[in-house]
Symmetry: C2
Subunit: 561 residues, 2 copies
């Protein structure tokens, strides 16, 4: 491969040359450390979920003690336990203990008090959802999953499949007394083929373990997200996780080659294909990708993995308008093409609030209505640098971009990513945040932020002093995936703010055929809003699928559709 | 972008320098003309379908007159018309004429003799399948498709959806008197967003029209295949077409963002999303991708399109063993990474037969057990050339590759592709060919060819003189996708050859969890063999889906599962 020691030339952009020429510094490769930044990034975006805001705004200030977690059944008082489900008896517990053979594979709160041990399985990591489960079972293999589900189905016992329990919509914890089927013991990497890049593993393998394993083989898991140290690949597939690598590697619907899953009646769906091409009938496995454990439990996954890119570069821009952001994105796709791996949007207001809240110095001087973060990853540093240079010369020469910097070492890379990653935490600084995670056609992506700001400002709710509940209305997100985070940082909870926001935001997204959940799924949090993103016809088709596979409705009830 | 005028240096590989240095000539970019070669390629692979071989082997020698096409009902005497379907009456015809308004939208062989007009809709382009349809309807919009299907469903009239009718397994022509619903009038490009690259169009848009439209916008349809001048994108999606760009852009399951389809009962499935991310429920549309028109008719498609690569390069190698082929593929993925767009395998025997049959001079001197064709496509010619050079230096320096040439202009590119594309036609030279289109785990890909050759040779069936039915046993295909074409060129049809081949080949593939139809689908041709690639459980799940969406069974009967 070409040497990376070539002396780089300074850029001499046509516009505003003095300011830019001292800012644009040359890139040096820094191998794969960026993904740690990415990890932090997605952790942050994890907190961009709409959440209940307490009167004191405490919910966005960080976790409170375990005892303070409200039961989901209290937060959603309209939800009632469906009496069709059996209550768990000691006899049931004995069956599972005998089946799984090991004491550690069953957490039993039925025949004994195990409330503390059960807490970790009953509540989610955001401390937002909390169930009443009295039993957790941890199968060690697919056969055991099959026997557990068959028994539950025969006995009308409701269950909730649980991977790393890192979801954002309450999908992986029980609501009432559903039995938790935890996949953590199924953590075996089954095979990897270095020629084809096809990786096969148990559903309970931790994403980071899988990616580290692949990194040693110079390959990359086609998905990365903040919870990688805890989340499991089965859960990733079950929730069709989006994450940081989607722009480059595409969605799991394209990358997952095969699935092994167990249906509620115990049937093992043996579709663990290791083939890139297999046109022999309906692609049933796709229903499990994003099915959120409502029609079966994924026990194994076969996935196509690409070669790992050794060279990573990051640039950060200031831009004058959203039109220029779109142009810059188009030009990035044109110039950077096969090496473009991230194109993130942050509006100027979000960056200003980062500075106000954290004191962080922004990389660019002056005010810019918009900022973008562009990342490349490729197989040859010199080539990538040249492409990036050509791109920068173009977007600055054409005045598409007003100002910009390029990271020259890993510290700078992390600094630049920090401007994007720091947003969610900083926005919580004033008390609370209304947060929406939306897919919107790219040309209208930012219009929602402007219209929402206008609406709230007209209503007299936005201002600099304490008398106004709203600090500002900001937008940021994964521009490359048309995925907007609309955020409304507030000083305090006021019903009037909520009334102004909802259903306005959902209706606005609905009118543009957008999505009210871009990547986090439905779970319990988004279930009430699905009609804004899906037609009655599609919702009815989904119900058909649910009834087909889970006629007793034992799988992850009270959630999804 | 960087200039392409840089003077190229000659390669000086470590091994066998004299021979290679005069062979490896520098690459010059030639823009996008390669895809014409690709087009021819896929046309050829289209003929790689297992087919009935007449005693005179005529079936592989090219189309015979229309009248010679055997009715499918005669080729498959076990198939009987299901009496549950109504016979088409004049009253039915009148309904469709009134509904569609235009005389040209209905080809009516019920109330009049229209047998000649009907022929094109009744038979496939391979002249292998032929139905008895007496009625063809050509809806102009989705509403009309809905009304047609509802009427057919209410009246128990069987239908066959038909796009460009370029399929290879008889899926798009009727078997008995099914009504042909031809989508050719639905040929409107609905929208294209230059920022996101999302393209939305009617199902009846011809693939080449779509790709030409996108080429003007500097984008590329993520699928290319030989029939592009005739096939329709709705049909491509319905058959989950693989084609030439899969290695680079992935499968349609990842690229198709939305589908508009009509169910047998007339329900319009309005899932024409223009979003890269939408995690709100089961991904129902995936069932229609590769559903081969058995649960509904796709009327519109939304698809993610990448930027078009301006630089294309092609190299052709000789290699000593299949182990080295695998190593070369792994190295190609490593060195060429994001610009690798094709990696094709041709064994030495297939190349020798090309020479024998056509007199074509091969690009390399001497005998090589294996050949590979490597194509790159990227955004920067200089960079691509450098990467290719580094790759060539490595694979030759390490003696992974014994010999190689690189195209220096478009003529050479077409010449090199010709060595791959010429195979199917040349193999028919001696009389007939037994052809199998298979997915096999890559490490065992070629073992099937060797074992089949050994088996047939041991049986005394292979030899150089007229007394042997078999000329040779060869393998070639899309190495990058683990897609093998096993071909057995024969001098004449002999039952003994077929008995040796089947079920041996299917069982061999089945044991390795391969696929007996990598990219062509099931249709009527592969329906009997699905059990070799799918478990009884999966087949049962498929039947459930079929029954759920098409309880009357009017959609494309006698085919698929």
């Amino acid at each position: 491969m070409a040497s990376v020691s070539r002396v780089a030339s300074r850029l001499r952009p046509a516009s505003n040359p003095r300011q830019i020429s001292h800012r644009i510094t040359r890139i040096r490769p820094f191998a794969q450390r960026r993904w740690q930044a990415g990890q932090a990034e997605a952790t942050s975006s994890a907190t961009s979920e709409p959440r209940q805001i307490d009167v004191d705004g405490g919910a966005t200030k960080g976790p409170s003690p375990a005892k303070a977690i409200k039961f989901t059944s209290e937060s959603y008082p309209d939800l009632k336990r469906d009496p069709k489900y059996a209550k768990i008896s000691s006899e049931h517990v004995e069956y599972f203990k005998k089946l799984l053979g090991s004491e550690s594979a069953v957490v039993d709160g039925v025949s004994q008090d195990a409330s503390e041990d059960l807490e970790a399985f009953n509540s989610d990591w955001m401390r937002k959802y909390r169930g009443h489960a009295k039993l957790v079972v941890k199968p060690g293999n697919t056969e055991e999953v099959s026997k557990i589900l068959k028994y539950c189905n025969d006995n009308m016992l409701a269950v909730v499949p649980q991977g790393g329990n890192t979801g954002l919509v309450g999908g992986s914890v029980p609501v009432f007394d559903e039995i938790v089927i935890n996949l953590s013991r199924m953590n075996r990497i089954r095979s990897f083929d270095e020629v084809s890049g096809i990786f096969v593993a148990d559903a309970g393998v931790i994403l980071e373990v899988a990616d580290n394993f692949l990194a040693e083989k110079k390959h990359i898991f086609p998905l990365d997200l903040g919870a990688k140290g805890s989340c499991q690949i089965g859960g990733n597939v079950a929730t069709n996780a989006g994450g940081l690598r989607l722009l480059r590697y595409g969605s799991l619907h394209g990358n997952v080659l095969g699935i092994e899953a167990v249906l509620p009646n115990g049937t093992i769906v043996d579709d663990l294909s290791k083939l890139r091409k297999n046109n022999t009938g309906y692609d049933i496995k796709q229903l499990f990708i994003g099915g959120e454990g409502t029609i079966g439990i994924i026990t194994g996954v076969s996935i196509q993995c690409a070669q790992r890119s050794p060279a990573i570069n990051v640039a950060y821009f200031g831009l004058d308008s959203f039109e220029k952001v779109q142009t810059a994105f188009r030009e990035a796709k044109g110039h950077l093409s096969e090496i473009l791996s991230a194109f993130e949007l942050m509006d100027g207001r979000s960056q200003n609030l980062v500075t106000k809240a954290s004191g962080r110095k922004l990389p660019l001087e002056g005010e810019h209505p918009f900022h973008c973060l562009v990342e490349t990853s490729g197989s040859n540093s010199d080539h990538d640098n040249e492409k990036l240079e050509a791109f920068l010369e173009h977007v600055m020469g054409e005045e598409i971009v007003s100002d910009g910097v390029v990271a020259q070492d890993q510290t700078q890379v992390l600094d630049l990513w920090g401007c994007r990653e720091g947003i969610p935490e900083c926005l919580g600084h004033w008390g609370g945040v209304y947060k929406y995670d939306l897919s919107i056609p790219i040309n209208e992506l930012y219009a929602l932020v402007e219209e929402t700001r206008e609406k709230l400002t007209s209503a007299g709710l936005v201002g600099d002093s304490e008398q106004y509940p709203i600090v500002d209305v900001v937008g940021y997100g994964h521009m490359g995936d048309s995925n907007l985070h609309l955020n409304v940082p507030v000083r305090r909870y006021e019903k009037e703010v909520e009334n102004q926001l909802e259903p306005f935001v959902f209706e606005w997204v609905s009118k543009r055929n957008g999505s009210i959940s871009a990547e986090h799924g439905l779970g319990i949090a988004k279930k009430p809003f699905i009609r804004y993103s899906r037609s009655p016809t599609i919702i009815e088709l989904m119900r058909q699928i649910k009834n087909l596979y889970d006629p007793n409705g034992i799988m992850n009830p009270y959630k999804y559709v």
